[in-house]
């Protein structure tokens, strides 16, 4: 007997949700936005014309603007989690990239600085790939380690460039803070980026191999997949994406510091998990992670509106993430 015959309607409903994980996610996002509207009438749907209309588009634009770097880092987590890995160095890599770009722009010129920033991400990614794919260190340990090493290097580097001052390249500022028709310019980067990641996962041999490695590494090996090649390329790509995110974030925040993008790390993991990506590999969706990032941003707005002390806000944020994830896992039967 195949398993399909022994299921209760509830399990079958769960399977529909699992096969279409976007349905409950988007429903949840809309629910949260509705709650937000109740908490602060007019923030989402202004009923009076005029000034409130501006507020609404401002809020939506802001929501999207701050969700973009989160969703980009979540892409790193989704891709690595597909192979049952994780990349905990992305926060640091984004910071390094932003810092390197800001400090070198005034010395070397902008194009060189940007190239150097991306190269930093690539190098950390390659080291991660070497450790995970060839030495077979657990990705959690490996990327945590390289993240710490990169933090240390950044501190040493800071001492040498402290006098040079920093400069934010104008086009990054345009990308990070500018708006076109009420929507953040970051979308000019993000939309092609998202399309690329979705295409990569679904319509390329590389994407297939990611799913295969996470589902059953022996089966992949048996079919001729050399896992070290895939992992090497995967972590290098993850490093590059993190560096790119750092550049965008630099333009957004406009004040490079030694821990600029670090606070984005755990939310990026949360966005991926909320979006239905399994940390055990073989199952994941970047579209889900994007919605996950939006959900996290809406939650953040709600907690800010509650005017709680910072500590309570952070604790509540963690609690909500756990609850949402647990609920989602229960409904869809994924893990």
């Amino acid at each position: 007997m195949s398993m399909a015959d022994t299921d209760t309607p509830l399990v079958r409903f769960g399977r529909v949700l699992r096969d279409n994980p976007m349905i409950p996610l988007i429903a949840f996002l809309l629910l949260l936005i509705a709650v937000l509207e109740v908490m602060r009438p007019g923030i989402v749907m202004p009923f009076r014309i005029g000034r409130d209309g501006l507020i609404s588009s401002f809020w939506l634009g802001n929501l999207i603007k701050f969700a973009i770097p989160l969703a980009m880092l979540a892409a790193c987590q989704v891709l690595t989690m597909l192979t049952a890995g994780i990349d905990l160095s992305v926060g640091v890599v984004a910071t390094v990239s932003a810092f390197v770009c800001a400090t070198l722009s005034s010395i070397w010129g902008v194009p060189q600085a940007v190239m150097m920033a991306l190269a930093c991400g690539l190098v950390v990614g390659l080291v991660n790939g070497f450790g995970v794919g060839i030495v077979r260190v657990h990705p959690l340990i490996m990327t945590l380690g390289t993240g710490l090493i990169a933090t240390g290097c950044l501190q040493v580097y800071q001492r040498y460039v402290i006098n040079a001052g920093s400069e934010i390249p104008a086009f990054l500022e345009w990308l990070g803070t500018g708006r076109t028709m009420g929507m953040p310019n970051g979308l000019f980067l993000f939309l092609p980026f998202a399309a690329f990641i979705l295409w990569l996962m679904r319509y390329t041999g590389f994407g297939r191999n990611l799913f295969a490695l996470g589902s059953n590494e022996t089966a992949a090996k048996l079919s001729g997949v050399k896992s070290w090649q895939v992992l090497m390329a995967l972590y290098a790509l993850s490093g590059l994406i993190a560096a790119l995110t750092g550049l965008l974030y630099l333009g957004m925040i406009r004040a490079p510091s030694l821990s600029l993008a670090n606070p984005l790390l755990l939310p990026s993991v949360a966005a991926a998990v909320i979006g239905g990506t399994s940390i055990f590999g073989g199952r994941g969706s970047f579209a889900g992670a994007i919605v996950g990032a939006l959900i996290l941003r809406v939650l953040d707005t709600m907690l800010t509106l509650l005017q709680m002390p910072e500590g309570a806000r952070t604790a509540l944020f963690g609690l909500i993430i756990l609850a949402v994830t647990a609920l989602y896992v229960r409904i869809t039967g994924t893990r």
Binding site: M1, T204, G205, F211
Partner: protein, 494 residues
Amino acid sequence: MTDTPLLDASGVAKSFGAVKALTDARLTVARGEVVALMGANGAGKSTFVKILTGALRPDRGRVLIRGQEARVGSPRGARRSGLVPVYQEPSLIPDLDVMDNLRLGDTPVDPFRHWVEALGIKGLRLTDLIGDLPLATLRILDLARALAAEPDVLLLDEMTAALPTDLVERVLETVRAKADAGLGVIYVSHRFTEISRLCDRATVLRDGRTVGELPIEPGVEDRAVELMLGETIDLGQRDAATLQAVRRGTPRLAVRGLAAAPKLQDVSFDLHAGEVLGVVALEGQGQDELFDVLAGFRKPTGGTVSVDGQAASFAHPADAIAAGLSYVPGNRAEALLAQRSVRENIALPFSARMRDWGPLRLRHERARVAHAIEKLQIDTRAQGEVQRLSGGNQQKVTIGRWLATGVETLLLFDPTRGIDVRTKRQIYPLVRELAEQGAAVLFYTSELAEVPLACDRAVVIFGGRVVDVIEAGAADEATLMRAAYGLTAQEGAA
């Protein structure tokens, strides 16, 4: 009371939604009787077993144990009422030692020890960690544990699948002796040889109902297969002239003195394009290592392999694949992406090489996959996730993967293990057809009766060495069995 059967199940029906798994299943077991329960996959066998052991409740019908209505409802309840199952998969906890596992099941230790000895496992310590013990031993421990519980009825579900032949013998002897002393046994198996040696009767299920109860007597195999399928197939042998033509010229695969310490000692053979070469061996004679080396999973410690006359060595399965060697491992779980679709599973090798990492050639892929599915008659009703397919269909997917890429040399390791007769009978002609179309097939099987069905000849490996080469025409089970035990080699030496 002696007339009351130990177990009497009748009119058992069970549906899952719209799917009727069982409509009218019945089974009786008298004292001292061994009853085979047979049926192709999808006949409802596993549902029936689950109902008998109390894992599922029937919609209709009753299960009487010693004349008492067994309101089983739970495995523990069935156990208390005197029915103890032993399954194909070991049910011991790998992280605990033997003693702790016994304690968990309230198994008395001394009887357990007695049965372990009787079943031919020497030197087992109760402090041994389950995870360190070989698979075959674990199956025996499961059986010993069941026997130690002094059941009225013992249910053996495919428990001999992949047991080495000598242990199978011990199991059959022990179970038979225990039955002669009054135990009732339900024996679920695909293997006719074991059934005809052990069982008194066979109960055959088809499409959810019991379609026949046959006494075991000569010729029962044909009757049982007829009942299960409603048809019989006879595969003849290829004629000698064709085979001679096939074996001329450079062999596709030439293995010389191949060794992989410690088990594989010295194996040589030629495999030509267009032929199916059987490999016959008892468990653990080096056949696993032989296939691992040929598939690129393991480095040999000696000897050479050449493909089409070119020396070859494989550092990774990718190298073996590049040389045209496709491997279907014995354990389906190793080869499949359980949560992924049939299409992705079959298309997996298409994107393995780095140069194929780019955009998928979807049209090409769909065509190749559709071809493989059609060729193998894979039931694709549950194609969204391979884990929802039946065992036989899963095995077809692992073979279909290589059909889609184009087979040159196919390494099949026990491809029919634990799958139903219907699927088996689709696999033999398929293997032959592939060979006739020019593929070279190396076919290891733990079921000796398969050799004349699928192979042109067979090499027999014993103690890591080739001890005999037998043409399929002469490969009856007795001959193969003697050879597999190394008997011909000893005679030669004497």
